[in-house]
Amino acid sequence: MLPSDLLIARARGDRIYPLYSRFLDHELYIADQLIEAFKSHIGSKRKELERVVKDIENEAFKIGCDYRFVRGLVHLLHRRASFVKPKVKIDPLKARIEIFAEASRRFGGFALDKVERDEVLRTVAARLNISVEDLITAFKAAYEDEEILKSFNNISAEELLKLYNLSLTQTLLFKALYLIADLRISGTDAKILLFNVKKLGLMYVAERTDEGVRLYIDGPASVLRQTERYGTRIAEVLPHIMASCEWRIFARIRRRGRIYKFYITSNLFYLFPKVKLEYTKYDSSVEEYFHKRFQTLGSGWKIEREPEPLVAGKSIFIPDFAFTKGDLKVYLEIIGFWTKEYLERKLRKLKELKDVKMILAVNEKLACSKIINLGYENIIYFKNRLPTPEVYRVLRKYEGLQEKPRLRLRQREKEIIKVPQEAEAFLSKVKVARLSLIVAELEKYGLSVGQVIKLLESKGFKIEWKGISLENVIVKKPPD
């Protein structure tokens, strides 16, 4: 993303489009020059680098590059660079304060000529026991342009231009009122995308289309007034959209008091960097194990990991597995961290998926509330590993085979959790804390998330759920 004043975009009629780099020779040349400038200035002062960059900007202008383009590249390069304060004999703040104070004390506020100035500097240097030169160096070290370029994360000219194109698109989206994305997308990528949409406080409505899924993305207040408020967040979602196999984006952009349309599709993929998404948020060991086991079962069902997302009403279901046998298709979703309300919401959504057969596999260890009967047959509770036999039993039911699966709710055994004294001591000090913090602490004593919650409940703590992530769960000590 770039500062808004570096956005280069053209409007034609009611359409707007950014002026992308097409990797032309002179653009590659300038990019190379800039990268070289950063590389060769490791160990030099910021102001020296800036001087060279300024020269390149002027040169670029002569060969037909917009100065905003050059500054855009420089902006991106700066993000790959780190600067450090120059080495000094004495803390710059101390040097400055001493000097200013001396000038005030001695001359009523300021040094009006060279004689006065030298006297102030000499006095302070003597008092601090350093040379006048060292004192002046320390004085200047407070200025940003005296900083030293310490390191630079190298990049090729072509990659830099691709990164620039992505940033340019994001910068245009800062002023987006809403965005519509048509996607052909894998379940995993959809999960990450929607996770991010929600994390950013945006909202989406999903719709099934011939090719895949359509998402309308905006924010809560958008229904009251169309606003650019969510633009920066929409821009943050863009890389996640670009990670899908095929995408088409439409957005409304407000610029200089007018509203424009912006289109772009994955046909232009070569303009942008390849987006690789980190998938660490979800632990997949449960899935992997189950997948292997099921395949060796010889059930006659074909198992597929991460099938296409399903649209239910206005939201999306992302099953972890699909089982197919002939015309029959059954999905399974593994539910990680959950609350009763979360499950209820899930089930309500499921009801909208009328023709879809879905099994929910719920990890009891990640329970955050007491299990109750939710009135949905196809829930399987498990502790460590997702049991293949139980899943198979449900599948057989769909095949029309009898043997009604015995899917009763397991009684949760009364578990008394013992913790060492250190943990008790820690808990006794807790007044208000995030659950994530307490879990991190108690994990040291071998407690699972579920056990921690049970322990807290048994001690009478109030647990406030503000979301499904541990970060958003607040634990409060009850008043005595």
């Binding site: 905003r68 506020g109 300021f110 040094a111 009006l112």
Partner: protein, 457 residues
């Protein structure tokens, strides 16, 4: 009886459609999630509406921050401050109070806080003002203080935020406070910042400013966002008794021959460009169009650079440095603030004259140390660009020197305000302008503000 469930959702309030209830007009149906939705601003209106119709409301909107506020020292109000507070309370603890710079607006706000003793969000334009509010609050109350802005994100029973941070985090802040205080409230009605008020459910709202009017006319939105103007006093009415008498002295300097030659050349280059392309600059928009063109258009770029260079010559005329030294020599020992339009000049003055500087680039610790030192008298002078204009308390400063500035009346009034604190000494504002340059026009424009405050030159 019908029960309605009212819930807070990220800056809005929502209610589920229920058979047979009437929904006020400020709610809109949100078909994304099948609920009615309104700006959190309408929370109180919504409660009133439902109460009048006899509906029962299950209210889950406010989650006020827990804590309390103990008064350690009672804010002492002057007559007009007490009147202002009364007027605000009478209007249902809603509305804008207009008082001149230096007349103690903060004290009125503190009295309002003392009256309500509820979780309060204070929104201010700059980090300096955050510091200042915090130390004022600590002086009068014992309470948990939170900060949003300048890299900090901590909630407290009393939370101080910058406008920027409050805008970005409006969803989080929207249901945690009962009282909102907007310092320098003329910032609020812009299309972005207004959302701070719209996405917040707070019941009580107080706006403070000396200069309510906006050039874009958006101040008409005060009643909707905060409440009506409940109290107004101008400088005229308070000067003398409560505020320092002041004097504005304009000093004209000439460009040196070399500078004059360069200046003429640059201005000619710029004007030639305008003439050749038939461009007339009547508004900011016309000027922006040149900036737009300058991306690829060589002539436009050169014209623009010439304009900037010419302006710099006028603003930073070498004669100004000489006059500045003369003025300083005359006022040795006084408390002086020097304002300039560009940060290069600030740095030059600081390095040459060894005067502490404050610009937007100044590091946090140094900024605090410098302001603190200036207050205590450890430093007698300070040089700054635009940072110190708004509301920052620099007590006892009695001399302001404007080396350069824009044509903005507000900027001028605010700079003047820095030396207008109650005290016995007479305050002087010096203004240095370069003759026969654009600057004379700029100066004339901004000094129109003096007409409004009734000054004798």
């Amino acid at each position: 009886m019908v029960t309605i469930e009212l819930v807070y959702d990220r800056g809005t309030i929502i209610l589920k459609p229920t058979a047979g209830i009437e929904v006020p007009r400020f709610f809109k149906f949100d078909r994304r999630v099948n609920v009615f939705r309104a700006f959190a601003l309408h929370y109180l209106d919504a409660l009133d509406f439902f109460k009048k119709r006899g509906y029962k409301v299950a209210d889950y909107v406010l989650k006020p921050i827990e804590g309390n506020l103990t008064v350690i020292r009672k804010p002492k109000l002057r007559d007009y401050q007490r009147e202002a507070l009364k007027a605000w309370l009478k209007a249902g603890s809603k509305g804008v109070i207009i008082l001149p710079t230096g007349s103690g607006k903060t004290i009125v706000a503190l009295a309002a806080m003392m009256y309500h003793k509820c979780p309060t969000l204070i929104v201010v334009p700059t980090l300096e003002l955050m510091d200042q509010w915090e130390s004022k609050i600590r002086k009068f109350f014992k309470t948990d203080i939170g900060r949003y802005g300048g890299g900090k994100k901590k909630l407290g029973f009393v939370t101080i935020s910058t406008y920027d941070s409050a805008y970005i985090n409006a969803e989080i802040l929207g249901n945690k406070f009962k009282l909102l205080i907007f310092d320098e409230v003329h910032h609020l009605p812009s299309s972005g910042y207004r959302q701070i008020a719209e996405l917040n459910a707070a019941l009580y709202r107080l706006g403070l400013t000396a200069t309510p009017e906006r050039e874009d006319g958006l101040h008409v939105n005060f009643p909707y966002l905060i409440g009506k103007i409940v109290y107004y006093k101008g400088v005229k009415e308070l000067s003398g008794e409560y505020l320092a008498n002041f004097e504005v002295i304009t000093i004209k300097v000439k460009l040196k021959d070399e500078e004059r030659r360069k200046y003429r050349l640059l201005v000619k280059k710029y004007k030639d460009y305008l003439r050749r392309h038939g461009i007339r600059i009547r508004s900011l928009k016309d000027f922006e169009s040149i900036i737009m063109k300058s991306g690829l258009d060589k002539e436009a770029r050169e014209a623009l650079l010439a304009w900037r260079e010419a302006r710099k010559i006028a603003f930073n005329a070498s004669e100004k440095m000489r006059v500045l030294r003369e003025l300083l020599a005359k006022h040795r020992g006084d408390k002086i603030i020097i304002f300039t339009e560009n940060t290069e000049m600030v740095r030059r003055i600081s390095e040459e004259l060894l005067i502490p500087e404050i610009t937007y680039k100044t590091d946090d610790n140094e900024r605090k140390a410098v302001l603190e030192g200036f207050r205590s008298g450890k430093f007698r002078a300070i040089v700054t660009s635009r940072v110190l204009e708004e509301g920052v308390d620099v007590p006892d400063a009695n001399i302001a020197i404007i080396l350069s500035g824009t044509a903005s009346k507000r900027e001028f009034i605010q700079r003047l305000g820095r030396v207008l604190r109650p005290k016995d000494r007479r305050a002087i504002l010096y203004e240095l302008i370069t003759t026969r340059t654009k600057e004379t026009k700029i100066s004339r424009k901004r000094k129109k503000a003096l007409g409004d405050v009734n000054v004798t030159l």
